[in-house]
């Protein structure tokens, strides 16, 4: 669904207010904290995943740059389990003040579970990308897209496989919130 510029602006204002409130109170919302909740590795295909990005992670034509995408294990936040898109803008505890503020002004990108790259067939080797729930104490909705080969998780992936993942994913994401800040390379 395409949002009008006015509704996008209202959406952005609501997100920024929520994030500023968390920053001001120096706490994360209760829904975002784990509080002893279990790992839930069930994802529906339509579930949305979110991650943050810088302004210069996008080309002038609005395409996400593949070389700026984090390769597996890429961190994302899930929609279910009471997740909100703006949780990805909250910095980890004990982050520096500069990092907390920079992260606040980053943008949010969404991708559905069904759109994630699955298996690079032409590269061989029985590789498979899987999204898995990896909750943190301060971020219960945290997930990671992990790489498996023949059912075994690979902690260090071949660069060609990682590149395949990034090249496929960039065409399947949509922007939720524009970024206001650039990386140091921007």
């Amino acid at each position: 669904m395409r949002q009008s510029p006015r509704s996008v602006s209202r959406f952005k204002r609501r997100i920024l207010l929520a994030v500023f409130r968390c920053l001001w109170l120096n706490s994360r919302p209760r829904a975002n904290r784990r509080c002893g909740r279990p790992v839930v590795n069930r994802f529906s295909p339509g579930e949305t995943l979110w991650f943050r990005f810088y302004r210069d992670d996008f080309d002038a034509d609005g395409t996400l740059k593949p070389h700026r995408m984090s390769p597996p294990d890429q961190s994302m936040n899930r929609q279910s389990l009471h997740g909100r898109s703006w949780f990805v803008l909250l910095a980890a505890p004990r982050s520096s003040r500069a990092k907390r503020i920079t992260q606040l002004y980053m943008g949010i990108v969404a991708v559905s579970v069904a759109s994630l790259p699955r298996a690079p067939t032409h590269l061989g080797g029985n590789y498979e990308f899987r999204v898995e729930h990896a909750p943190l104490d301060h971020n219960y909705q945290h997930c990671e897209v992990r790489l498996y080969q023949d059912g075994n998780r690979l902690l260090k992936a071949n660069k060609a496989i990682k590149k395949y993942y990034r090249e496929v994913l960039v065409d399947r994401v949509s922007i939720c919130l524009e970024a206001e800040v650039s990386s140091k390379a921007g």
Binding site: K65, H67, S70, K162, K163, V168, K184, A185
Partner: protein, 175 residues
């Protein structure tokens, strides 16, 4: 892999109309990168350079491109939110060589940028298609060609197929 003497800053190369990388290194510490089939390149020291690459700044975009590569080489480990590795001297050297090859074929990159996978990415844009060459700190170079809505083609680039890879990208973008 250790460089006893790093390659000269790329902006120095811009001063010359045609500069040979090997010649600009101190005589006693000249190193030549031998392109391994996959993985880390082997570096031979004090080898008389037979594979040194001419950096030509005759293309109008080349000077700016080399300055950008030099700038990317000066980034530190905090350049991106994802704690990505900053491009190092290996990536800078490889990117300069790729740019030299592109200049000889008259292929102008659309963008030169740091990669979160540790390296420098040289991107090209066409109509409904894009391509890029990523030079990694590990010494690997990977090329990618993507037509929108189709599976990407990814291949390894070595010193031997650099020229043909650049030509392949040129014909892909102009199909």
């Amino acid at each position: 892999m250790i460089f006893h003497t790093p390659p000269p800053p790329v902006h120095e190369l811009c001063q010359e109309s045609i500069a040979t990388v090997g010649e600009m290194w101190p005589e006693d510490s000249r190193a030549v990168i031998d392109w391994a089939p996959y993985g880390e390149p082997m570096v031979h020291e004090n080898v008389e350079s037979s594979t040194s690459i001419n950096i030509s700044t005759s293309s109008p975009w080349m000077s700016d491109a080399l300055k950008k590569v030099s700038f990317l080489g000066s980034l530190d480990g905090t350049w991106h939110d994802s704690d990505a590795e900053a491009p190092d001297t290996v990536a800078v050297s490889l990117a300069s060589q790729v740019l030299a090859q592109l200049a000889t074929l008259g292929i102008e990159p659309a963008d030169i940028d740091a990669s979160v996978d540790g390296g420098i990415c040289i991107s090209f844009a066409g109509v409904d298609r894009r391509s890029n060459i990523e030079c990694f700190n590990s010494g690997e170079i990977l090329g990618a060609m993507v037509a929108y809505g189709q599976e990407p083609t990814i291949w390894e680039i070595t010193g031997r197929n650099l020229s043909s890879s650049a030509a392949q990208i040129y014909s892909f973008l102009n199909e």
